[in-house]
């Protein structure tokens, strides 16, 4: 069956360091992969979208990689700040681009001063 896995345990890092979050998937051949941020009690906020033919995408301090051979995406936050503390969700489009998203359970990131 189809499955998306993210680090189940919280990730604790020191301010200024780079946070790296992992998203692995099985039994999918997604054309797109998206990353969202979610704060407690709020809806997810879109961060980045990467296509299957893109190896890497950057936006300010954020970087996403997409390896369709390994079936894995890595999400990096450089020079992390306490304000980056949140849950980060990985999502695959299960409808060829029509926004039927399948989400992972998310990884909680805590950045400590």
């Amino acid at each position: 069956s189809q499955k998306i896995e993210q680090n189940s345990e919280a990730l604790n890092i020191q301010e200024g360091k780079t946070a790296t979050l992992t998203c692995n998937y099985t039994n999918y051949s997604p054309a797109y992969l998206q990353w969202y941020r979610q704060d407690p009690g709020r809806g997810p906020v879109f961060l980045l979208l990467i296509r299957e033919n893109e190896k890497e995408k950057r936006k300010e301090r954020l970087k996403v990689t997409f390896d369709t051979t390994l079936k894995q995406s890595l999400f990096h936050i450089t020079a992390s700040q306490p304000a980056d503390s949140a849950t980060y969700l990985c999502a695959l489009d299960d409808s060829g681009g029509y926004n039927k998203l399948i989400f992972g359970a998310g990884t909680r990131l805590a950045v400590h001063p």
Binding site: I4, Y32, Q34, Y36, G41, R42, G43, P44, V45, F46, L49, R51, L89, A91, D93, D94, S95, G96, G97, Y98, N99, K100, L101, I102, F103, G104, A105, G106
Partner: protein, 119 residues
């Protein structure tokens, strides 16, 4: 420019009751998707509406139904509520069609959610 809005913010119901949740999409968007998010889990796709019709559906029973109005706003109805229906219900709006991935309008914008508690 208002983003996605949802009402109510919180709701408490008892088992067997029926509930209606409402969503107004972001200005310019024509497609509304509904997700259910249980505590500690990622959102799960319920269904999607475009041109007042259900276009895609996730693995949810018929107790979950919806509607989209001509102004693109949408309702989610859940009948015969179960304890397991307690969750954060999220509405997301987007433009219908294949994601081009070039502009931010291709992606989904989520509302703040409605927290439903079933006692």
């Amino acid at each position: 420019d208002a983003g996605v809005t949802q009402s109510p913010t919180h709701l408490i119901k008892t088992r067997g009751q029926q509930v209606t949740l409402r969503c107004s999409p972001k200005s310019g968007h024509d497609t509304v998707s509904w997700y259910q998010q249980a505590l500690g889990q990622g959102p799960q796709f319920i269904f999607q509406y475009y041109e007042e019709e259900e276009r895609q559906r996730g693995n949810f029973p018929d107790r979950f139904s919806g509607h989209q109005f001509p102004n693109y706003s949408s309702e989610l109805n859940v009948n015969a509520l179960l304890l397991g229906d307690s969750a954060l219900y999220l509405c997301a709006s987007s433009l219908f069609g294949v994601t081009s991935g070039i502009t931010s309008t291709d992606t989904q914008y989520f509302g703040p959610g409605t927290r439903l508690t079933v006692l």
